[in-house]
Amino acid sequence: MRFIAGECGWPPAGAGAPLEGRGASAAPGITPVPGVSGPGGAVAGAGAAVQGLCGVSADIVNADKMSGRSRKYKIIFSPQKFYACEMVLEEEGVFGDVTCDEWSFYLLPLDEDIISMELPEFFRDYFLEGDHRWINPVARALQLLNSLYGPFGKSYGIGRCAKMSYELWRDLEEESDTEGQGRKPEIGHVFLMDRDTDYVTALCSQVVYEGLVDDTFRIKCGSVDFGPDVTSSDKSIKVLLNSQDKVFSQIRNEHFSSVFGFLSQKSRNLQAQYDRRRGMDIKQMKDFVSQELKGLKQEHRLLSLHIGACESIMKKKTKQDFQETIKAEHSLLEGFDIRESTSFIEEHIDRQVSPVESLRLMCLLSITENGLVPKDYRSLKTQYLQSYGPEHLLTFHNLKRIGLLTEQAAGETLTAVESKVSKLVTDRAAGKITDAFNSLARKSNFRAISKKLGLIPRLDGEYDLKMPRDMAYVFGGAYVPLSCKIIEQVLERRGWQGLEEVVRLLNGNEFCVSDSAVEDNPAWECQRVILAVFLGGCTFSEIAALRFLGKERGCKFIFLTTAITNSARMMEAMIEAKA
């Protein structure tokens, strides 16, 4: 028996599984070592590398066949096998040689309050390609949570994908036995949101500690590799970042500026505790060593790691003109000095600072301004291609399709296509087409939404980042994350009433459904628990903001996301050029 492996190790849920284009070379887990025979190999799962994994698997099998080796092969798909994969296997003539299994692995708890589906490909597949293949897994994840924690009292959502996921989930529920229905609910509300409802927040530089660590070092499945520059030794350390880490859990949600103070206070305390051992008698010393020392040592280790991480972050960010970048971002969010920000971005491109960063800033400019002025679009694009390579023409095309980087006239061309097509078909179908266009490239209307929801706090005096007064603290007091603000508003109003204008600007597709059996039991503890579902990924900044909101309002947010994301991951998902 031979196993053909996708991603190896934990977590296996197709984490970072390669998809088309990224191909086989990007699949570190595929280890077709020739000559490895006999039992063994790894447990495997790959989201659905249609051409990648299946194609490669077929190649392996065929190569074996050619050389006269007869083996058994097994592919384990997680969370789901796709028909397209089978087609590839069939076409390659290995269908019978390979047996396929499914591992319905949907949920990976990253922490007490974060569940990830580890489907980073969701973002590109749905929002760029318009492929609905991951909606079923989302619906099944909801079904699973529903069966574990009882029915949800009230479901809210916004976005086309949110709506479809909800519908498919309800569909699945109706079919299933009603055993779970009698359960006492533990989750009062569920809120589903499409990532394209709010691209702005995901595109901003993160400044809460956990977000910064993610932006700087990349947190993967809840753990991070701290390199030699952090550990101040010659080796890297893999660190699990969650609430078990006593130091991390206290700083993860803090604005970076307050982290230093906290860490130095903490080290002073630690020193003091160590110092107590002076003047102890034997008995006390024994107690100290047996009871406290281990904890202190552990804390010491963690402290020095996080201090090292902070230093490394500072060093990197200073080099990258972080201060200036943040300033430019804030003016984009506020809509001031657009000219100046544009030339900042231009210079960023000219200096070849970073292809991903340049792209991110351009997208932020486009999204906040509802598209670039054609003249700016052309010149920035030309300069980008000159600085980072002409093949990025493909990247720009992707960004235009998904609506992250557009020309201001683009809206008109879209309408032209729509009207042309709708002349050919009936109204019903035309409606579908308009919908489809909307889903792919919708207008952002950020400025108007921002005004309506008050996303830019008016400052009287300095914003005290140590004592945050609203969710804006996660962006240095400059901006309340839109996604979180929507959730706050809807929960407060227990629906979308009064938000009609905002909904219109967000291109609709909102819903609010209550389960009559569960609702209207305000006394129940579950009313305080909200499941926030992010389709297409959520950032640590958003998590921090909602944790803050939860603390303020005396409720608890649980996060279910298709993956943890940040601006770089989003941009990289759009980049077409070679790695």
């Binding site: 796709f82 047996t99 396929c100 591992w103 619906a139 036995d177 600085s387 002409p390």
Partner: protein
């Protein structure tokens, strides 16, 4: 169990009945819908076992020619399948907690206890029943038109079953109408996997033009097909589709994308040459043209320089060996390279910076920035000076930097320029505060002192005394300024 049997009997009867009565396709569909509920309730209990039934085809169709099987096809044995299911469920406690799965499993396993027998029994019952039909040959249709009863799901149920990962044959959806209803149901079901499966079936069983025509008004399905074709690399089909849809720009981009897979530079260059004629927008056509020209140049430069480097006669290449080939690098990188190795070459040479600047219409700002970085790296301060100097028509020279002098300073500083060089440019930074900051940071004392003097800031100037060396010329300068009675200090 007996209830199940009874239902089953009822079902056979109804299905048999229908075969006689309803000639009209639509009526049959509506009848199907009516009996659907009964069928559904049965199916939920019978679960997987009808998969086996389906393979025993009695309608004369080839068995399982293409039956979408999500279950383990190769193993084929039901018992091993069960074993796996249960072990998977046990292995992960959270899934065992799923009431639906647990219950359906137990029920179906009950059924499976004598599944082979029972299904054969019912099958033979059904077969012997069909004998009845022979008495009314005039009512019979050709055998192939009979629908396999066990696969006789409505489009909606077919989609539903496929969503649940169950076996479903699509072969019987033969009329275009049926196929499209199936596709629309799949789209309405929100499951991309099923949509793609149906599309694969349609793609196999419909002529391209017809498929394309229908997809044009079904955008969601269209997206799925395009994505599928991209993933499986069916480029020709994809291009046909895009052409049919008049998406000329995407046609061009899809073709252009192929160049990424061509490793050989000569072949890549040839390919890019072919791309120039593709139906891009005017703007993009010029980008493609540039891409081709750039690679063409790089090939020439690379050949020359490799030769130069090998010969070992150029001091520059000896002193600063090339770290990588220039092939396939961005334009700006190429410009940097050319400013580094070929700065003084005449414009006629392909490798000269001025030639690159002209050919690709590189903006002044970008050019200066790049040239500056390259010359500073070589510590050719004279070139830096010349680069930033302009002459007006009267012959006066003036320093000008399209990128702002604070950037100039930053670039020079990063390349460890000496203070004398640095301070010349710090002095030119327009914004006073930035100038002071930079001057202080990089210890350009003269600039700091002069700026304070110009600001008439005696206090700051006095305070700065401690920053300069004792007995140095700078200290002397501060003293002389402070003692200058002509200056009207503001403090």
């Amino acid at each position: 169990m007996t209830r199940v049997r009874a239902d089953e009997e009822e079902y056979w009867h109804s299905s048999k009945f229908r075969a006689f009565t309803f000639d009209d396709e639509d009526d049959e569909l509506s009848q199907l819908k009516e009996s659907k509920r009964a069928v559904n309730s049965l199916r939920d209990i019978v679960d997987d076992d009808d998969d086996d039934l389906e393979r025993v085809s009695w309608s004369g169709e080839p068995v399982g020619s293409i039956s979408w099987s999500i279950k383990e096809t190769a193993s084929g044995s039901t018992s091993s399948l069960d074993g796996r299911d249960s072990s998977l469920q046990k292995g992960s406690s959270s899934y065992a907690a799923l009431p639906k799965q647990a219950s359906s499993y137990s029920l179906s396993s009950l059924f499976k206890g004598r599944n082979k027998l029972s299904s054969f029994q019912s099958l033979s019952d059904a077969l012997s029943d069909t004998g009845v039909k022979n008495y009314a040959p005039e009512l019979r249709r050709p055998k192939a038109e009979y629908k396999d009863y066990s696969g006789d799901w409505s489009p909606k149920d077919t989609v539903r079953r496929m969503q649940r990962g169950k076996v479903c044959s699509l072969e019987r959806f033969r009329s275009l109408q049926d196929k499209l209803v199936l596709l629309d149901e799949a789209v309405a079901g929100h499951d991309g996997n099923v949509i793609t499966a149906v599309l694969i079936f349609l793609k196999r069983t419909l002529r391209r033009e017809i498929l394309f025509r229908e997809l044009e008004v079904r955008q969601v399905a269209l997206c799925h097909l395009i994505h599928f074709l991209r993933e499986t690399g069916e480029q020709k089909f994809l291009l046909d589709l895009l052409r049919f849809l008049d998406r000329t720009e995407e046609v061009a981009l899809s073709q252009y994308r192929e160049h990424l897979n061509i490793q050989d530079v000569e072949k890549r260059r040839e390919f890019l040459k072919g791309c120039i004629g593709l139906p891009f927008s005017a703007e993009d056509t010029s980008h493609i043209q540039d891409h081709y020209t750039l690679l063409e140049r790089q090939i020439i430069i690379e050949a020359n320089d490799r030769h130069l480097e090998m010969a070992g006669q150029s001091e520059l290449f000896r002193k600063y060996p090339r770290k990588a080939s220039i092939l396939n690098m961005p334009l700006v990188t190429t410009l940097f390279y050319s400013c580094f190795y070929h700065y003084t070459e005449a414009e006629g040479m392909f490798s000269s910076p001025t030639n690159l600047k002209k050919t690709f219409k590189i903006p002044d700002k970008q050019y200066v920035l790049t040239a500056l970085a390259a010359r500073a790296k070589l510590r050719a301060w004279g070139d830096v000076d010349a680069l930033l100097t302009t002459k007006n028509w009267l012959g006066y020279t003036k320093k000008k930097a399209p990128i702002g002098f604070h950037r100039v300073v930053e670039i020079l500083q990063r390349n460890n320029a000496p203070v004398q060089v640095l301070q010349e440019y710090v002095r030119l930074v327009e914004d006073v505060e930035t100038r002071l900051n930079l001057a202080t940071k990089y210890k350009c004392h003269d600039v700091v002192i002069e700026t304070y003097r110009d600001l008439k800031d005696r206090i700051q100037l006095t305070a700065y005394k401690c920053k300069v060396e004792r007995g140095s010329a700078e200290e002397e300068k501060i003293h002389s300024i402070l003692s200058n009675v002509q200056i009207r200090w503001k403090n």
